[in-house]
């Protein structure tokens, strides 16, 4: 729809016309604010926690273990320097892996993620049904936004 609108504006004489092709859903998926009667809809992006331990793929497991031990959770997420989610280190891996190996070699690559504009109540039900204590939230570029936990939703 927006390409047709952009063309229409051009035919009306507008010379600086841009089309934000990914549209409103992309904006919402980046946890950006919106206005309107539905702006107060409870979405998981409002309940993000940023306390999870994040590590770089080259960090050794021994160092990750120490950081996770000081955190509120028993897992860590592996990201690039600019926050792109690469993988997850579950507690079992942290406990069992060779401490000299880098995180990137033993991580679970490509963990499932949610977008921040998903409805909070439905996600809470889904997490409880599946027996999950948290879900990872990322934006459309794969950038880690945080985690959500059923008790918060």
């Amino acid at each position: 729809m927006s390409p047709r609108a952009a063309c229409r504006l051009a035919t009306l004489g507008f010379t600086q016309v841009y089309d934000y092709v990914p549209g409103k859903v992309d904006w919402l998926a980046r946890n950006q604010p919106v206005e309107g009667t539905g702006a107060d809809t409870e979405m998981i992006g409002r309940h993000l926690r940023q306390e999870v331990t994040t590590v770089r793929p080259e960090e050794r497991i021994s160092a990750v273990r120490a950081r996770v031990a000081r955190s509120a959770h028993r897992f860590a997420l592996v990201t690039t320097a600019d926050g792109i989610l690469l993988g997850r280190l579950r507690a079992a891996v942290l406990d069992d892996a060779d401490p000299t190996r880098p995180a990137g070699e033993v991580m679970e690559a490509g963990p499932s993620t949610l977008r921040p504009h998903e409805p909070a109540a439905a996600i809470a039900d889904r997490l409880v049904d599946k027996g999950l204590s948290y879900a990872i939230v990322a934006d459309p570029d794969g950038r880690l936004l945080g985690t959500v936990h059923p008790g918060d939703l």
């Binding site: 004489g13 089309d19 409103k24 859903v25 919106v34 206005e35 309107g36 539905g38 459309p140």
Partner: protein, 66 residues
């Protein structure tokens, strides 16, 4: 007409671009980008766009790329 992704959109907004949502009014009323105005595609003409500043960039958007 130029297509833009989110990073370029942010730069355009920082530069004072005008945002136009072209979805029907009901969808705009429910949820829209801050600072946007609503001109539904079916109503886009010289009259409804008269309020736009032709000397500034205009960014249009709808729900998604589909």
């Amino acid at each position: 007409m130029t297509t833009v992704l989110y990073p370029a959109l942010r730069r355009l907004l920082d530069d004072g671009a005008q945002l136009v949502e072209v979805l029907p009014a009901g969808e705009y009323d429910e949820m829209h980008l801050p600072g946007s105005v609503n001109i539904p595609l079916k109503t886009l003409d010289a009259t409804t766009t008269a309020g736009l500043d032709r000397s500034r960039q205009v960014v249009v958007y709808c729900w998604d790329a589909l």
